[in-house]
Amino acid sequence: MSAVTVDHVWKFYGDFPALRDIAFQVEPGQVLALLGRNGAGKTTLLRIMAGLSRATRGKVRLFGSDCRDSANRARIGVLGHGIAVYDELSANENLQLFGRLYGLPDPAGAARQWLERTGLDRAGEARVREFSRGMRQRLAVARAFLHNPSLLLLDEPFTALDDRAIAVLQEVIRRAKREQRTLIMSTHQLREALELATHVALINRGRLAFYGERTEEMVQDPAWLYRHYGEA
């Protein structure tokens, strides 16, 4: 059973096709780097996979069932553009809140563990409002990975991170890889993403221009893909 099956997905905004006949499969344990220019449709596709938006035609199946299935949603972790934590609550309260929403048996313990892993254990009781930007980003990572998701959807996760946050994120992703979790990552930071990826997909103007295994050539020359399959 594939982790993710994108089954001829189209997305229309009015009559304008933002995604055209996207079809691919991601097996468990793989790490997919989703590349493409701004406006190509990466975020649209990730949002459909995360269950935040409906495909106009076609379906996305996660672990064999529909992506909006609530059993599935407990298995997905989403890291989007916003940090998705509440400013008025403390870091600990935020993580415990999401732990309870995801039905974790020990929300407090999971919160403690992830605060340590992201280096926020000493700031756990402070309100998020008082956090620096780097701390907020690390907390976002903690929130996304908190409930041990089998599938992680990361939308441009490396963008605008400070170096400490980048290090934390890379460590968390490597740990996830070791634990055989599936990751789909859209990105502009080609080098970091291509180092971690096992497969690569390129979206160009809503169409899937390329899907295949990551090669050494891609890592050495990240722009190779765009030259061959994208636009200049």
Binding site: R54, S70, R73, A84, V85, Y86, E88
Partner: protein, 226 residues
């Protein structure tokens, strides 16, 4: 069971966030008290006049003050993109809606019970005669306002002109809830118990609450996701 638990978690989160910042709560409370006072010395109503307008005055104040709270309901999720995280979680849209609606209901009801003594003092009205009946009317009427306001808050969450659109959309639909609430409150505050001819009004309130709660629970996920 899980549905109720998730509803409770959302409700608790909203209440905690609001009680910490108190932004909407303070604005709403200040607004209601000021309006009550303004009307009192602008119109300087006699005891007889007050008896006639008590329900209308109170419910208009509650509706306007309520808009401040109801607007925040889904709008508070926009900062930091929290709404995406909630929708992507296993919490169904209906639990999200219900949790928020209950939190709003509690806040609005608290404001109303603070307004009542203020009203009693400045208008010289004894409102405690039929407290049980009055509480019932407040509960039914406030739930109606809350359901509509919370639902429309979800509907308008992504709009630029949200602050303007929400009242424009809400108030006409709230009228069939406000009219019976106003009429029943006026009767009860004037000291008369609810007679048989008032039962129709109660039935209207209950009908309103049931219809729109069911509709909201059914449609909120469509609004949030698509």
């Amino acid at each position: 069971m899980r549905f109720l638990r998730q509803t409770f978690v959302i409700c608790q989160k909203d209440l905690r966030a609001e009680l910490r910042s108190k932004e909407a709560l303070n604005a709403s409370l200040a607004f209601s008290v000021v309006i009550l006072l303004l009307f009192s010395f602008a119109f300087d109503p006699t005891a007889e006049q007050t008896r006639e307008i008590s329900g209308g005055l109170l419910w208009l104040v509650f509706a306007f003050a309520g808009a401040l709270i109801l607007n925040r309901s889904f709008a508070r999720e926009l900062a930091n993109d929290c709404l995406d995280a909630l929708v992507a979680s296993p919490v169904p849209g209906s639990a999200l809606f219900l949790g928020k609606a209950i939190a709003n209901f509690v806040l609005l009801l608290a404001i109303e019970f603070i307004c009542l003594p203020v009203f009693g003092v400045f208008y010289n009205v004894r409102w405690t005669t039929h407290l049980g009946a009055l509480t019932l009317i407040l509960v039914l009427g406030t739930w109606g306002l809350t359901v509509i306001g919370t639902m429309f808050s979800a509907l308008t969450v992504n709009l630029r002109l949200r602050e303007l659109m929400l009242p424009v959309l809400c108030y006409p639909i709230m009228i069939p809830c406000l009219l019976p609430a106003i009429q029943l409150s006026t009767v009860v505050i004037a000291g008369q118990p609810l007679g048989p001819d008032m039962m129709e009004g109660l039935r209207l309130l209950v009908g309103f609450d049931v219809i729109f709660t069911v509709l909201a629970l059914a449609l909120v996920e469509t609004v949030l996701i698509g």
